[in-house]
Amino acid sequence: MANGQSDPAAGIGLRSAHIDEMLSTRPPSLGLLEVHAENYMSGSPAVAALDNLRRDYALSVHGVGLSLGGAGEPDPDHLARLKALTERLEPNLISEHLAWSVHVGIYFNDLLPLPYTEESLRIACRNVDRAQDVLRRRLLIENPAIYLRFRHATIDEPVFLAELAARTGCSILCDVNNLYVNWKNFGLDPVAYLDALPREAVGEFHLAGHHKSDADGHTILIDDHGAPVVEPVWALYEHAVRQFGRRATIVERDTNLPPLGELIAEAGRATQIAERGAVKSKPVAFA
């Protein structure tokens, strides 16, 4: 990791409401900041604030708009903007999603599901290759929270991700909350999911909260990044750390933003678990 740290760090998703406080307090316990790429693709002074924070923190740039799972190729203009941003910030990590969000010039502002088939795998590989060629950087691709599955899917999601990593050289960003949400919503076993991921390809973890909602009379978990990380997700994170080793970890919060200190405390807990998980191997219960 950058900035003299030998171990992959834990940090937070940096939101604009916390930038001034970060600049003035520079909490030393954080090792890593992650920003949404699209919020900094302008000439705003916020980019200069990142330049400043970059001196003290490793940086991860997390994109939401490349639509790598979409049928079309990534928008070259958007890719050029991402390239300009990453060349300026020189982040330690650049990540995107196994999802689509753009269709014929319309941006849907959501991470939409794709059918896991050989055809969509070829398309996703083409798009990741294209993005990595332009950026000249390895991407981390995040497993999504999903709310529907397709009948004609022929590949399990972790196998799809593992194959994507094998064919393109990309890494995997393992969102632990998404594993938990998909487990509760679809019964997808998170341990089996983690077992199917290649150890060497997993390069980062995400942690976040979710909320319970109702869909057609059924309780469903929604990955809204609007609450603290729940205990079962912490336990699943500890399991993942034991399986894959210590990795850069981000606590994300996008709605119901709490005081900065609460997020720093969650990142601190991630650090403790990573340190503990890296040296012990007893099983943990996360159900």
Partner: protein, 254 residues
Amino acid sequence: MARVLRGGSDPELLAAIADDGIDAVARLRIYRNHMTITLTEALKANFPVVCRLVDERFFAYAAHEYIAIALPAEPSLWAYGAGFADFLASFPPCRDLVYLPDVARLERAIGAAFHAPHSNALPLSVLASFSQHQACDLVFSFQPAWGHLASDWPVDRIWLAHQDQAPANALGTLAPEATRLEIYRASGRPVFRRMTAGEFAFRQALARGTRLEEATDAALSLDFLFDLPATLRHLFDEGLVVGCDCVATDAKEV
């Protein structure tokens, strides 16, 4: 799926969704709701004073109607809402809030000023490199962050009265009031400033690339007290001028 997210139907898609215990329509509604909620939040972030003027519930209703006809064209959501002011102007439930579209235009200009790229500004001394004869034929280019807005309402006072730190009843009685503003970025923050009719005409003319002499004539035709030296000094002092050329045949470029 894109068709469904835009409010349409797609029987083929419904048939392709696995039966996981919840109706396919309900599953698609999760995505559509998420899209609408997050885009409403984006509009609220881009138009906070409009939201305060109409209250959150009405704003969510207006945003819902806007999102139904104008989804974003790009993932950077600070740019979303280019047509929101025009939408509000034609939105029947808003017809009594006649100043609302111009407040939205001011917020849009403030956002644009904040996000615009910055170019290196020229110092006032650059004018000394041109002869007096050339001065009439000067044309200027400006920071992309520089914008202008004219309204029949005091949208600047309305905006200020709806900030967190504003005193109660800061606005007083609201009445029509011709208001001309320039909006730009200073020390990293968007700012706006009122202008006279002459200043406004001058700046708008210059922003269109009009020669200095013609821009000055436009200002003086509206305001015989128009102060050219002070206005030019302000433009340079605020770092708004990024290019200055003489368009006469013996042009000297800087």
